[in-house]
């Protein structure tokens, strides 16, 4: 990996970290844990489409670790790692199937699997099956926010074609 690529990926990690921290300052709209605008997935999807899967994994990993250190809780590291890893794997698969077209479908799958990953992590930590009662609300919110982030990523890529 040359220096230019490393610096570009670092800048993307910083942007994703900033978006994540700003977004966690928004008060929750629905009183269900885990419903949020997953705006940091815009950066993950952007890096995946422009550079590749490994670079997207690096950016995601750095963002999750730094965001949880900055917010000051180790317990949310497990939730975020599960959710982020499942999100990345699903987005890689769908991206490979669709050849980087129809980005909103990829990001909807990413958001849905992110929420499923967080619920599974919560079920492991709390050791109770009854937490899966949150799953329908989280699926619906994941589909809606995934559509939004997918459109954001689509417009970002189409507007930044010659620049980055």
């Amino acid at each position: 990996m040359n220096t230019k690529k490393m610096v570009t990926l670092t800048l993307f990690s910083t942007i994703a970290l900033t978006i994540f921290i700003l977004e966690s300052a928004i008060p929750p709209l629905v009183p269900i844990p885990g419903v949020k605008l997953g705006l940091a997935n815009i950066i993950t999807l952007f890096v995946m489409v422009k550079y590749g899967d490994k670079e997207a994994f690096i950016v995601l990993f750095i963002r999750i670790i730094l965001a949880n250190i900055v917010s000051g809780q180790v317990i949310s590291l497990i939730y975020s790692l599960f959710g982020g890893f499942l999100c990345l794997v699903s987005m890689c698969l769908i991206n490979r199937l669709l050849h980087s077209k129809y980005l909103y479908i990829t990001s909807v799958f990413g958001a849905v699997f992110h929420n499923i990953g967080q619920i599974i992590a919560a079920a492991i930590i709390i050791q109770s099956i009854s937490i899966f009662a949150y799953l329908p609300v989280l699926l619906i919110s994941g589909i809606i926010t995934g559509l939004f982030t997918g459109f954001c990523t689509h417009f970002t890529i189409s507007r930044l074609k010659g620049v980055i």
Partner: protein, 161 residues
């Protein structure tokens, strides 16, 4: 010799151009079909979630038993129908994290907590569909109709050979 090598190189380049064009034209319809399948899957998922939400029992419960789990361990069982007067108590997890739970009018809810997002306070009183949780403090409150906890089948009481 050099001419033959150049000619072979040019032929292989033209062959790869033709193959690439054929592959991209063929893939356009295949990608559209895959995208349609994904859309239909997501639509079905959306509809199923909506139906499950619609048919879940959202009523508030009364006269049941509340179980309070902290870190996966049952720490308290409260018979809500036998509570004659409202009271509050505090549940602490490690690292100075607390939740204050109040039983008011035979219903249970969380009043105050020092978790960062305070979603648990806005969950309100318990209803039949979802349990009350504070995920940063690993707290879970479920209300069932039996006085025994629901996780006892995981514990093995005795093994006889």
């Amino acid at each position: 010799m050099k001419d033959e090598v150049l000619m072979l190189h040019r032929i292989s380049k033209q062959k790869s151009i033709i193959l690439n064009n054929a592959r991209s034209v063929d893939n356009e319809w295949v990608i559209k079909r895959r995208a349609l399948i994904c859309c239909i899957l997501l639509f079905i998922l959306f509809m199923v979630s909506c139906m499950v939400l619609y048919f879940m029992d959202h009523s508030e419960t009364e006269n049941y038993y509340a179980h309070i789990y902290q870190n996966g361990n049952l720490i308290k069982t409260i018979d809500l129908s036998a509570v004659s007067q409202d009271y509050t108590f505090t549940v602490t997890s490690d690292e100075d994290a607390f939740n204050i739970i109040e039983i008011h009018d035979k219903k249970i809810h969380i009043i105050d907590s020092n978790c960062p997002d305070s979603v648990c306070i806005h969950m309100g009183y318990h209803n039949n569909s979802i349990p009350i949780t504070c995920l940063p403090n690993r707290l879970l409150i479920t209300v069932t109709s039996q006085p025994d906890a629901e996780n006892t089948e995981n514990d093995i009481d005795i093994i006889v050979y």
